[in-house]
């Protein structure tokens, strides 16, 4: 067999942001021709930065890039295209009111008259060749997330890219759509394209790639041939030491209803229905997972319960753990129509870890103490706030959850993502809630902190609290939760037992109910 040829070789690439942040430090990376390479690393390990230097968004401070063994300077996305490099970003860059074809040819400065028909035909040819299912004349706003992603891929193929970089392409896809994407990636590989997939999901790495390159804290750790690797060995390389990947899931003890939601329907500002006839019960001593494609109504559901989203129809009832509901005289508290303050004043012990940590759960410019006060600022005497209790609580969380911060007054905005989340989760748990709601509690966190959070949630469950866990990683949902409620297009498409179900079944439910953004 002839020696491998490199499609891309990056040599001693260093990229700094400011003085303190070294996003990439002397990284060497090779992409062989015709292979699928996984670029694996935790959040913040510099994967995207490295790839952005290939696609011309950043320019390396030091180092040299070779494309097909020729040294090149890539100082703009156009240079990247000229070198046959195309990147599919995590956040799509498409014009919603244009058709697929219009988006694809947008910015292409071809000579002569604009010939949309010819362009459409070329798009169709590319689709047929690799098995994409998009219609060239369909508008972007009519497309599902997966179709939009397809348009992005076709866009770079149309421009003649033979090196494709996909940045976390599966983050927004259902398991079925992921399978389809992987099939397409293999088709492209057969056609001689070289592909890099950026990801932090291990099973995907194992499934699709030929080789894995691993980054840790901006440094290149090494590469392994995929068939010689397994989840544990990859994790250890990624984290730098041995990590236990087990989530403890004790059986629920004496589950009692804590929160019931019945026929909940909400509309957004524009009058679009976001939740439709949603009903479920959250029990004490149980973690109820909520799964669904991004934007299926998870945020609206939690915010409606927390009193932050207007409820159009339906009932939300809270059952106080200290009240005996076998006595028919005791009725649960209805939360519909209440705002967060009145909910708290009514004595409803409910905590909420929102998705947008610094934009909703915390005040970025304040320190830990100031942020503890978000829950207790009204308690001070008269006109003044009391800092003593929040300060004590901040100190406790600082110690117990090992938050890395110089002081309790250090702005939380400048802490790392994991520490920010510890502050938020720590505060919410300290409220001793009967119901604890969390939205994407581990998004963007390193593996260690993620497992800290999983354990904290299991602990809460064992204390008899009702935990609601909105998550995106199906593997975690299946391992952590007791039951999983699946949302699709604002409707409940099923509630399954997490111990007996599997990813396929949940995946099917995620796209089952028609409408919304799901596939037809």
């Amino acid at each position: 067999m002839e020696a491998v040829k490199n499609a891309v070789r990056m040599e001693n690439i260093t990229k700094r942001f400011g003085t303190k942040v070294v996003a990439n430090n002397a990284v060497n990376l090779e992409l062989h021709e015709g292979e699928i390479l996984s670029l694996l690393g935790e959040n913040g390990s510099g994967k995207t930065t490295l790839m952005n230097m290939l696609s011309g968004i950043y320019h390396p401070d030091e180092g040299q890039i070779y494309i097909h063994d020729k040294p090149v300077t890539i100082s703009s996305p156009k240079d990247a295209f000229d070198n046959g490099i195309g990147m599919i970003h995590q956040h799509f860059k498409l014009v919603d009111v244009f058709t697929a074809t219009e988006n694809i040819i947008l910015g292409l400065n071809e000579d002569g008259k604009l010939d949309l028909k010819k362009a459409s035909q070329k798009v169709r040819d590319i689709c047929n060749k690799y098995g994409f299912d998009i219609k060239p004349d369909q508008k972007i706003y009519d497309m599902s997330v997966s179709q939009k992603q397809t348009v992005e891929i076709v866009k770079v193929l149309y421009r003649g890219a033979d090196i494709l970089i996909l940045d976390e392409p599966t983050a927004v896809l259902t398991p079925q759509e992921t399978d389809k994407l992987f099939q397409i990636m293999r088709n492209m590989q057969k056609d001689g394209k070289s592909l890099i997939i950026i990801t932090h999901k291990l099973h995907e790495v194992l499934e699709v790639s030929d080789r894995v390159a691993i980054l840790r804290k901006g440094e290149y750790v090494g590469d392994v041939v995929t068939k010689n690797a397994d989840q544990q060995s990859l994790t250890d390389m990624m984290v730098g030491r041995r990590v236990s990947l087990n989530i403890d899931r004790p059986a629920p003890v004496n589950p009692q209803p804590r929160l019931t939601v019945e026929h909940l329907t909400v509309y957004d500002d524009l009058g679009v229905k976001r939740l439709s006839d949603v009903s479920f019960t959250a029990n004490s001593g149980e973690i109820l997972g909520i799964a669904g494609v991004a934007g299926s109504g998870q945020r609206e559901l939690l915010e409606a319960i927390a009193g932050l989203y207007p409820v159009a129809e339906g009932a939300i009832n809270f059952y106080d753990p200290n009240v005996d509901y076998s006595d028919p005289a005791n009725k649960p508290k209805s939360l519909v129509g209440m705002d967060p303050m009145s909910i708290r004043k009514a004595g409803v012990a409910m905590s909420f870890v929102p998705e947008d940590r610094l934009g909703m759960g915390l005040v970025g410019t304040m320190g830990m103490t100031g942020n503890m006060m978000l829950r207790s600022w009204r308690k001070g005497k008269g006109l003044f706030v009391s800092r003593k209790e929040p300060e004590a609580l901040a100190k406790r969380i600082w110690e117990e959850l090992e938050v890395v911060t110089p002081s309790t007054s250090f702005p939380v905005r400048r802490m790392s993502g994991g520490n920010v989340q510890k502050v938020l989760v720590g505060r919410e748990i300290a409220q001793e809630p009967a119901v604890l709601m969390t939205a994407y509690a581990v998004r963007g966190l390193d593996i260690n902190t993620s497992y800290t959070i999983y354990n904290l949630l299991s602990e809460q469950k064992m204390k008899g609290r009702a935990v609601i866990y909105v998550g995106e990683d199906l593997d975690v949902l299946l391992e952590l939760c007791d039951r999983i409620l699946v949302l699709c297009g604002g409707q409940v498409s099923g509630v399954v037992d997490a111990r007996t179900t599997d990813k396929r079944q949940v995946g099917v439910l995620m796209t089952r109910v028609g409408g919304g953004e799901a596939d037809e």
Binding site: G18, H59, P71, T73, L308, F352, M366, F384
Partner: protein, 363 residues
């Protein structure tokens, strides 16, 4: 082959306050050196002489010092007024109008109630009227912002023009003598409605009022529940709602407070200092106050120093233009240079400059 620049910039972590002030101090010294050079080149005068005249203009005599203190009090008062709104990230640039409408309310009471009530009662009524007028001028933009998301910057700016036109109208209504287009000194003989003189010093009471206000505002922002609410709302409306803060109520309440304090300053200006009403009574200080507040990072105690600096420069500038027969523009040039350096120094408090050695060879 990679382009390598000689230096690059990096955002600093927050500096301790004394370092910030050190950088500012250096900036002022540099500004003074630069001003000296400009002075020598343009006028041929001895810069030391010019600077001592600036100082003399501000603090040369007891009278000058009192006037400086009065100017300081007014500017500081307006700066204190806008600070809660700015901390809430409500860009109120309507202090000019809010103060002027306070002036107008005060003057209206003094003119229409003359001879009808005692001077003491008149002071109380005009104070109440000024507070109310300022509060209304603060309430309107906040109400529209809270309910319909209007742009507060444009709204408050336009409210300035309304205030100016109203003042212009009433100046004609009340002009003395008829046809002069001016009001002149109100109640000159009776001194009815004039702020009482204490300790034999005309401006002492006014200065004390602002001093107390400074302390109160510091405590309000730092330790009160309202202050906490303002800080959270300023950071994120969503976080505020999440914490159970009623965002709209806080916006309106804070702007009413902000406007009312502006109204108070308007009252102090008319009843305590000027005893007349002109459309230029506030003289742009509603805008200068924005700079005072920003430079002090919304800290009321720091604002004492920033407003002092600006007032000192203005007073001194006026002095040199008369003593040396220089055009007033020259004074403006010097003020401009000094402000440029001070505001420019903010860059160095926020960023560090790192020089790169031309170390490793590219490939």
């Amino acid at each position: 082959m990679n382009k390598k620049s000689l230096f690059y910039l990096a955002k600093r972590d927050a500096l301790p306050w004394h370092k910030t002030w050190l950088i500012r101090g250096v900036a002022i010294v540099l500004a003074l050196i630069f001003c000296s050079l400009i002075t020598m080149l343009l006028t041929g005068l001895n810069p030391v002489q010019v600077f001592s005249t600036i100082f003399y203009g501000a603090f040369g005599t007891a009278r000058k010092t009192w006037v400086t203190a009065q100017n300081l009090a007014i500017l500081l008062g307006i700066s204190l007024a806008i600070t809660p709104a700015f901390k809430m990230r409500f860009w109120n640039i309507g202090a000019e109008g809010q103060v002027l409408i306070g002036c107008l309310a005060c003057a209206a009471c003094m003119i229409t109630l003359e001879g009808k009530v005692s001077s003491g009662l008149m002071v109380v009524i005009s104070l109440a009227a000024s507070l109310l007028a300022g509060a209304v001028w603060g309430f309107l933009p906040a109400f529209f912002k809270a309910n319909w998301e209007t742009n507060e910057t444009l709204f408050t700016l336009m409210m300035n023009y309304i205030a100016t036109q109203l003042a212009a109208y009433f100046i004609i209504v009340w002009e003395v003598p008829k046809g002069s287009g001016k009001i002149g000194i109100i109640n000159q003989s009776s001194e009815a409605g004039w702020l009482p003189v204490i300790g034999g010093q005309k401006y002492l009471l006014l200065i004390l009022v602002v001093a107390v206000l400074t302390g109160l505002m510091f405590i309000y922002l730092q330790y009160s529940k309202h202050g906490y609410e303002i800080a959270v709302v300023g950071e994120s409306h969503r976080t505020a709602s999440y914490a159970g803060i009623k965002v709209n109520r806080v916006i309106i309440r804070t702007m009413v407070l902000s406007g009312a304090i502006c109204g108070l300053v308007g009252f102090l200006l008319v009843s305590g200092t000027e005893h007349t009403l002109t459309t230029t009574l506030v003289g742009g200080r509603g805008f200068t106050a924005v700079m005072v507040s920003w430079l002090a990072k919304f800290n009321p105690i720091g604002m004492i120093f920033t407003s002092l600096l600006l007032v000192f420069l203005q007073r001194g500038a006026t002095e040199i233009s008369s003593v040396f027969g220089l055009n007033h523009s020259f004074a403006d040039i010097l003020t401009g240079i000094i402000l440029f350096f001070i505001i420019g120094s903010d860059f160095f408090t926020n960023y560090e400059i790192h020089y790169q050695r031309s170390g490793k060879e590219g490939k």
